[in-house]
């Protein structure tokens, strides 16, 4: 029987109950959200469960939502079950003051550099990572450039009308 999103939702519900939520987004991809302490447990479950077998880590990255207080930093995993040819997106959120999540390097060797990149740009600390240091930026850098507090251009410039382009100088609330 082909694996479908409702089966994954049901399996997660049985295993984790209410703490893990799984919703299908408007583009048909299942999006799983879990508390950050559970990230490895969920990844392990998705990896090992014989009907799911999400054993290919397609992508791992971060997103910064300054307006989500207490959940500012998101770690986004894209997993692929090659046997069933189905993808899911898995998200955990971490607060800006304590941006710590467990590393997935034990499960996926591919996570090594992806987590380094996420640390490099967002400052998310992956607990247990074997070599968590900057990868694309210089090691002396003391900030995390993809966070939203670093705008691309000086927002105080008045010779350029930012209303025309993008966000108009202020961060828009995202809910």
């Amino acid at each position: 029987m082909a694996l479908t999103n409702p089966i994954i939702q049901q399996q997660l519900q049985e295993k984790f109950g209410e703490s893990v939520s799984a919703m299908v987004d408007s583009y048909g991809l299942l999006e799983i959200t879990a508390p950050r302490e559970l990230n490895l447990k969920v990844l392990n479950f998705l990896y090992d469960n014989p009907t799911l077998q999400f054993q290919f880590l397609t992508d791992l990255t971060g997103v910064h939502y300054p307006s989500k207080k207490g959940n500012e930093l998101a770690v986004v995993y894209h997993l692929h079950s090659l046997k069933e040819n189905l993808r899911v997106r898995f998200k955990v959120f971490a607060p800006l003051e304590q941006p710590e999540v467990y590393t997935a390097t034990g499960l996926f060797s591919a996570a090594n550099w992806m987590e380094r990149e996420t640390y490099d740009f967002f400052g998310i600390l992956f607990l247990g990572h074997p070599n968590l240091k900057r990868i694309l930026n210089v090691e002396q850098m003391d900030y995390f450039p993809l966070r939203k507090e670093f705008p691309l251009e000086d927002q105080t410039r008045i010779d350029k009308d930012d209303e025309m382009f993008g966000r108009g100088g202020t961060l828009k609330q995202i809910d």
């Binding site: 992508d59 894209h78 694309l136």
Partner: protein, 407 residues
């Protein structure tokens, strides 16, 4: 590993490993990347890769650009096959916007994407020859990459950083010259490819240099996030074109070549066979294009006035076209709220775009899944215990593009 090549006399100083800095700029790295190799004699004990020398912060820049202006950033990822990246990006936008493209657009895209794939594989395979000491093949097939670049020129005006196409299709219909050049390519390339193959495939020196070098098992390759020819060389038949078809790839008949050992030789063979498959796809696509007659043959973009830049003559004569032209150029079109992940089979693997939109005029966050960034981390495992010259072959067989790796 324990085998000692230089027997030190009794009582001499303890043997230590030597460190070799390969790169950042070195002819054998084919890009700006550094490899710090730890050697005992000529055998590699450990390798430490340093990347990021041409990091240009594309993901940050994209957060302040309207969708149409991000295409130029994708050009500069894998610059050996820019049209593939361009179209991957356009299709990501189309997925976010919910745009259905006409079949003719899909087939035109398939033509450009397969040409780009051939150009990409051609460079990689011939460069492997160069690294093994055979320069002739590289120079010989260059004229066919030139022909592909001429087709690019006919279609979009540029050669390397193509910025080809628009969201919804192409900026103009393909000219007759473009199709003539395609016909010329389809007629002449197979013979040259065969000759190129004859030069390498059963070449004793080339086989000795590549067989059993830099091999990886299917399990390890999957665990390392390998995609594309490198994964298929290890024996996994994963191809995005088949597993999640885009641009009507389901209308084409082609096979996915797979290897067994995942070594440099298998990677070379898989790329070689993929070029033959691409040729067959090109022929099928060109046949399908020719079956469009009359007004159908004039379709080269989807009907999405809010995102597709109107033709100049309409801008000068029609009110709506002028308004949309202004809004698109000034980046004033709001994009829908949503999150999409879309991927295409690029020259060296699954090129993915993760686009988060908060409803503004530019992406809230854009992440590129760059295949060679992900599989390059396996390099140490691939070369550990092998000779220095094997490291060079392994590096060129992986098809590493510094521009893509560093984004």
């Amino acid at each position: 590993m324990s085998e000692q090549h230089i027997k030190l006399p009794e009582g001499s100083i303890e043997k230590v490993t030597s460190t070799l800095n390969l790169g950042p700029t070195h002819p054998a790295t084919h890009g700006v990347m550094q490899n710090i190799l730890e050697l005992t004699g000529e055998r590699i004990v450990s390798a430490d890769q340093t990347i990021g020398y041409i990091h240009r912060a594309f993901e940050k820049i994209a957060e302040r650009r309207p969708l149409a202006q991000i295409t130029t950033l994708t050009d500069r990822l894998n610059y050996c096959s820019s049209p593939l990246n361009n179209m991957g990006w356009h299709m990501t936008c189309e997925k976010l916007l919910g745009v259905q493209t006409p079949k003719r657009v899909d087939y035109l895209r398939v033509i450009m994407m397969e040409l780009a794939r051939i150009a990409d594989h051609l460079i990689c395979n011939s460069i492997m020859g160069v690294d093994a000491g055979a320069y002739t093949g590289f120079l010989y097939v260059m004229q066919f990459r030139e022909l592909i670049y001429e087709i690019y020129e006919e279609v979009c005006g540029a050669r390397l950083t193509t910025n080809m196409g628009r969201i919804g299709g192409f900026e103009r219909n393909f000219t007759d010259q473009a199709f003539q050049k395609l016909e010329k390519f389809l007629a002449e390339y197979p013979r040259a490819l065969k000759e190129f193959e004859n030069m390498f495939q059963r070449n004793r020196i080339f086989m000795d240099r590549t067989m059993g070098v830099g091999g990886i098992s299917a399990e390890r390759a999957l665990n390392y996030g390998f995609t594309g020819p490198n994964l298929r060389a290890a024996g996994v038949d994963y191809d995005v074109r088949v597993h999640s078809p885009y641009a009507s790839y389901q209308d084409f008949n082609f096979t996915i070549p797979v290897g067994t050992t995942g070594d440099c030789y298998d990677r070379w063979l898989v790329r070689e066979q993929e070029m033959w498959q691409s040729l067959s796809i090109l022929e099928q696509a060109y046949q399908k294009i020719q079956s469009f007659k009359g007004t159908e043959a004039e379709i080269y973009h989807a009907d999405i006035p809010a995102y597709y830049l109107p033709e100049k003559k309409e801008v000068y004569t029609k009110m709506e076209a002028l308004i949309f032209h202004f809004k698109i150029i000034m980046g004033e079109t709001d994009i829908p709220v949503g999150e999409v992940y879309h991927s295409v089979e690029a020259g060296n693997g699954e090129l993915g775009f993760y686009l988060v939109s908060d409803g503004g005029r530019s992406p809230y966050r854009l992440h590129f899944r760059r295949p060679c960034f992900i599989y390059y981390q396996s390099f140490e495992e691939l070369v550990k215990g092998s000779m220095l010259s094997d490291a060079i072959m392994t590096m060129s067989s992986l098809n590493l593009i510094a521009g893509e790796m560093d984004a």
